[in-house]
């Protein structure tokens, strides 16, 4: 098992961040933000080691969604069906907390709780299913009390929400 940190701009391949060693148990903070019109900075910070990396790109985004997710990747060329997805590795629970987003002007973020819906927005709670869609294989908790955190558990049972 190996661990990497990367940034990516879909549908291109990921770009591994060189020199940023990742270890289980380390605390990671990731940020994606528009620093000026059409300029986006992506950062992965290993809070445990104090090291970080990332890149800044010119990108035209609709800004239509913001999310924090646990995922299983596609491991086949094409990615046209669920059969192209990797089996989900079994892990201990992952708690995302705190998470924040901003809908303020680029370069001047006004952070607010990730799970607190901004006016006009919709909050989506997403459960991961098996390839056939017949069973949940990774389930999120409800939001914590201050609406900035949640936990994802391997399997069909939703874990308890983290303490805020």
């Amino acid at each position: 098992v190996s661990y990497d940190a990367w940034t990516e701009i879909l549908p291109a391949a990921e770009a591994v961040i060189p020199g940023l060693a990742i270890h289980p148990g380390n605390t990671i903070k990731t940020t994606v933000k528009e620093t000026s019109a059409g300029v986006w900075k992506m950062t992965v910070q290993d809070v445990t080691t104090g090291k970080s990396g990332g890149r800044t790109v010119h990108y035209s985004s609709s800004g239509a969604s913001a999310e924090a997710i646990h995922e299983r990747p596609c491991i086949a060329d094409g990615c046209t069906s669920t059969s192209d997805l990797a089996a989900l590795a079994k892990t201990n629970n992952v708690t995302f907390d705190p998470g924040e987003l901003s809908n303020a002007a680029a370069g001047a973020p006004a952070w607010r709780a990730l799970l607190k819906v901004v006016p006009g927005g919709t909050l989506n709670e997403i459960a991961m299913t098996n390839n056939a869609g017949t069973a949940v294989i990774a389930a999120p908790s409800k939001a914590d009390s201050d609406a900035d955190g949640f936990t994802v558990a391997y399997g069909s049972k939703s874990p308890a929400a983290p303490k805020s």
């Binding site: 549908p11 391949a13 591994v16 239509a64 969604s65 901004v118």
Partner: protein
């Protein structure tokens, strides 16, 4: 078109992707004209990004709204997403601990192995959460 192309060979070839950022979008918005392509271990394929999108919602899945939160099922995402077709979001950040793999899938025919991205925080050009067909490690 590039997609994540690291095929995991052998039953023990399980890799956990522990930290991911996604600046999501369709092929057009991720073209070299609007942003540099990533330089990771890519494979060339003919996947039409905008048509396929990042959502791989399994057949027969449901969508319902409870207390203002829409519950979705996805083939490869678990977590939370906010969406607003008006293009509200300018920044997002999150913090988590890198999980430990506790079980290794044992299969012998590629594509094999298990993989997981512990998280992606994203500002996407998609109008709804679209589990990514991304980041095979």
């Amino acid at each position: 078109m590039q997609v994540r192309g690291r095929l995991l060979g052998g039953g023990e070839a399980v890799v956990l992707a522990s930290a991911a950022l996604v600046l999501g979008g369709g092929a057009a918005s991720a073209s070299p004209a609007s942003g540099p392509a990533a330089s990771g271990p890519a494979a060339t394929a003919g996947r039409p990004g905008p048509a396929v999108g990042r959502m791989l919602r399994a057949p027969g899945t449901t969508e319902r709204t409870i207390s203002g939160t829409t519950q979705l099922e996805s083939a490869n995402w678990s977590g939370y997403a906010q969406d607003d077709s008006n293009g509200t979001y300018k920044a997002v950040e999150d913090t988590w601990k890198v999980p430990t793999v506790t079980k290794v899938a044992g299969t012998s025919t590629p594509p094999t192995g298990s993989a997981s991205a512990a998280s992606a925080t994203a500002v996407s050009s998609r109008p709804e959460p679209r589990p990514t067909t991304s980041a095979a490690r």
